[in-house]
């Protein structure tokens, strides 16, 4: 193996004087800002906009000419006829109080494992899930429905979390549980490339399908 080609250039008799060096450094800061900070992102924006306009614009979903959400973001569901997503800890944009699934101000609880606030929140969420879905006290609740996500915008829940809501949704919509479960399973996403990530159900996709089936 020959590493002669790695030999760096020799030291000059006199290196460039300091004012010269300062000017080079200033020009470099400006030049690299123009190339990496403007030319590169703007070129990427143009090319991505041509190749994947839908995704580049935020994967927005429109129904009847109106934007109803983004396919990759969650949104807040509380009505009984809808599949509910995970608890979200996002706040209002001005920070004045909670506003779940605020896609302008992502956020999480950042509560540690022994924080009493976490324990209290989980206690309330577990109780709410049991109450809304007519489950007995002591029924275990899937952890994704009892804990808040990292982004506050998690679009997915587990299959366990979705199946647990089938009866409530069916009742509210006058459908059979089998029909509701069919819609959920039709929107079940397995591991990507069979190995990456975890299987999941996109909440907004299921709810759009439920509304469409009505």
């Amino acid at each position: 193996m020959n590493s002669a080609e790695m030999t760096p250039p020799d030291l000059p008799a006199r290196p460039a004087p300091l004012p010269r060096l300062l000017l080079s450094a200033f020009l470099a800061a400006v030049l690299f800002t123009l190339i990496t900070g403007l030319a590169y992102p703007l070129l990427t924006t143009t090319v991505a906009g041509v190749l994947f306009p839908q995704q580049a614009g935020g994967s927005l979903i429109t129904r009847g000419g109106q934007v109803v959400g983004s396919a990759v973001l969650g949104q807040n569901f509380t009505a009984p006829q809808y599949l509910h997503g995970r608890p979200s800890m996002t706040n209002k944009t001005d920070g004045s109080g909670p506003q779940p699934y605020n896609a302008e101000n992502s956020g999480a609880s950042n509560w540690g494992p022994t924080n009493a606030k976490l324990a209290e929140a989980v206690r309330e969420r577990v109780a709410a899930v049991r109450r809304e879905n007519g489950l007995g006290a002591g029924t275990p609740v899937p952890v994704d429905l009892a804990t808040a996500s990292g982004s506050g915008l998690d679009p997915d829940i587990t299959l366990a979390g979705a199946l647990l809501q089938v009866n409530r949704i069916a009742q509210a919509r006058n459908l059979t549980p089998a029909q509701v479960e069919g819609v959920i399973r039709a929107h079940f996403t397995p591991r990507q490339l069979s190995v990456l990530g975890e299987p999941r159900v996109n909440v907004l996709a299921v709810n759009l399908a439920l509304d469409g089936a009505r």
Binding site: M1, E5, M6, P9, D10, L11, P12, S24, A25, A28, A29, L31, T33, I35, T36, Y40, L42, T45, A48, Q55, A56, G57, G58, L60, G69, Q75, T78, Y82, N102, N105, G107, A108, S109, N110, G112, P113, T114, N115, L118, A119, V122, P140, P142, V143, D144, T147, G150, S151, L153, D154, D156, I157, A160, Q192, L193, V195, L196, G197, E198, N207
Partner: protein, 566 residues
């Protein structure tokens, strides 16, 4: 399934080491220059044939960084007057802008601000994205110079800083970032200059959706081991990380260049085995940490189980401690991401580390304290070599011989410089943490009580000093005290490592080679790799275990006992 996923991703990572290592080798070689590179040298008015000794190389590195800092600070403070600001965001306050520019300059990417609330599209591109390229290129250039010094067949020249930076940006970072950005957009990442969208949800509520040129930032964020997010919740945000595939690509991007550098070094040295020994040492540490964080997070939080949350693995859920985590990644990919981001000192997060179990949070913190498990672009390699030098020194003491490293005698001056770099790191972490915990005002920023609150502060200074940038994000760090002190910790961590180690390389380069004798300790063996790992763990444990015991260990023990703190 989790282990299969780890195996697949780490196999892909390992398979990329040789081709990318060869590529970097050609980038670090001196000839030929391409046309855009020659044009750049002309525009900057510098001579690519000018070699630099370690002092000159260090000076040019610092001066170039200084001007980047000034230009970026100006742009941030003038944000209100600049274009592409559809949300009408005003400029950051001076202390916050200082923290931001130092953070991105030093490849730390600590964020005391929330991206969608604080930075215009222009700032995200012209300030943040630019820094992501230049700080990664600075780290890689320093590594190139450092390697040339260690190999040292050339007298005192370590190469030319401008040439190294220009080639790394043009030949490696820009093309890779562009191609990967298109893959990311295909998977669902936005890349637009359109203003924030407004949706009417199915339940009739209004949802404002923050957008922006996200993908072009996300690629260099990880290729450059930077880590600063476009959005507040970083790679947990579905727009920064829409699918498990993007998560996997994020992980691979972070490891790509730090892992490949070990091979580049082996080739440069004419001893591939030496490169693989370094790679192996890093991988062993990595696997140990990955196993730890995965096991503890998957086991979950017994307090939540008692309250009725089901954290077990079943056919229909992946279970585990899911507070602050995303369903699409589950525990396995989250653990791999957390291990990678703190190993490669990237600092992005796809989950909230603050909500990990005590021992789950122990892993990211410890890896940043060690700071050399692959490490950031360029600097991780340099940090690992610190410990190789320390390893030959300790082994030399044991057998009573003057230690040699790569055919050069390691003497008092080199060891002193290495120790300066090794000691500046804990001094900054523990010193600033100690200062913060005795200041009542600093304690007001805590989001959690008890040992976990202490962990938040310890994590902040560890992350700053290690130039990582991830956080126990509950800490309200946007106060003048934290902005200033974490800013200082970032500077100490960056330049008090880079400059002494460049000096070591310069000193070694100037020394004559000593012939290999029967008394030479070979450094390209599994035995020596093991010794180095051992030195890293012992030095790390002696330095940091007391603080770690007060924070994450105590936290975990309380959690197991079911203690809940107000």
């Amino acid at each position: 399934m989790a282990w299969l996923q780890f195996l697949v991703l780490l196999a892909v990572m390992a398979a990329l080491v040789v081709p990318v290592g060869n590529w970097l080798y050609s980038v670090f070689a001196s000839e030929p220059h391409t046309a855009p590179e020659r044009l750049t040298y002309r525009l900057l008015g510098m001579n690519p044939q000018e070699g630099m000794d370690w002092k000159r190389y260090g000076l040019v590195l610092v001066v170039s960084n200084l001007f980047l800092l000034l230009v970026a600070y100006l742009l941030l403070r003038l944000q209100g007057l600049l274009p592409w600001n559809p949300a009408g965001l005003s400029a950051q306050a001076p202390d916050l802008a200082w923290n931001t520019v130092v953070s991105f300059l030093t490849n730390t990417n600590w964020q005391a601000y929330s991206g969608e609330q604080s930075l215009s599209y222009f700032s995200q591109m012209a300030v943040i994205t630019t820094f992501m390229f230049t700080s990664a290129a600075t780290g890689l250039a320093a590594a190139a110079a450092f390697m040339r010094g260690l190999v040292g067949r050339s007298g005192t020249s370590l190469g030319n800083f401008w040439v190294d930076v220009t080639r790394i940006i043009y030949r490696v970072l820009l093309p890779l970032s562009f191609l990967l950005a298109l893959v990311f957009v295909w998977q669902g990442m936005p890349q637009t200059l359109s203003p924030y969208a407004t949706a009417t949800t199915l339940e009739g509520a209004t949802q404002r959706i923050a957008l922006g040129p996200v993908a072009s930032l996300e690629t260099i964020k990880h290729l450059g081991t930077n880590g600063g997010g476009f959005f507040s919740m970083n790679a947990a945000h579905p727009f920064e990380n829409p699918t498990p595939l993007t998560n996997a690509l994020h992980i691979l991007s972070m490891l790509l260049l730090p892992a490949a550098l070990t091979y580049t070094f082996g080739r440069l040295l004419g001893n591939l085995k030496q490169g693989w020994v370094i790679f192996g040492g890093m991988l062993v540490l990595f696997l140990g940490f990955l196993t730890t964080v995965y096991s503890f997070e998957q086991a979950g939080n017994p307090i939540l189980s008692r309250l009725g949350a089901d954290q077990t693995i079943t056919a229909t859920q992946a279970g585990g401690n899911m507070e602050g985590k995303e369903v699409r990644f589950g525990i396995a990919q989250t653990a791999l991401f957390a291990t990678t981001t703190t190993a490669a000192t990237t600092g992005s997060v796809d989950s909230m580390h603050d909500s990990y179990t005590g021992m789950g949070g122990f892993v990211p913190m410890t890896q940043m304290m060690l700071n050399n498990v692959f490490g950031g672009d360029g600097v991780g390699f340099i940090n690992f070599v610190q410990y190789l030098v320390l390893g030959v020194f300790i082994a030399g003491l044991m057998v009573g011989r003057t230690p040699e490293f790569l055919g050069k005698k390691v003497e008092a001056r080199e060891v002193k410089l290495v120790m300066l770099a090794v000691l500046a790191h804990p001094l900054s972490i523990l010193g600033f943490t100690a200062l913060a915990v005795v200041l009542p005002d600093a304690l007001k920023s805590l989001n959690n009580p008890g040992p976990h609150g202490f962990s938040e502060i310890l994590y902040a200074y560890t992350s700053g000093t290690a130039n990582n940038g991830s956080a126990f994000a509950g800490l309200g760090a946007n106060t003048p005290f934290y902005n200033l002190t974490i800013g200082l910790a970032m500077l100490v961590g960056r330049y008090l490592t880079l400059l002494p180690m460049l000096a070591v390389a310069g000193l070694l380069a100037a020394k004559r080679r000593v012939p290999v004798s029967s008394g030479t300790l070979p450094t390209d063996t599994v035995l020596f790799g093991g010794l180095t790992v051992f030195v890293i763990l012992i030095v790390g444990a002696l330095t940091f275990l007391p603080a770690l015991t007060l924070g994450p260990v105590a936290d975990h023990l309380q959690m197991l006992k079911g203690v809940v703190l107000q």
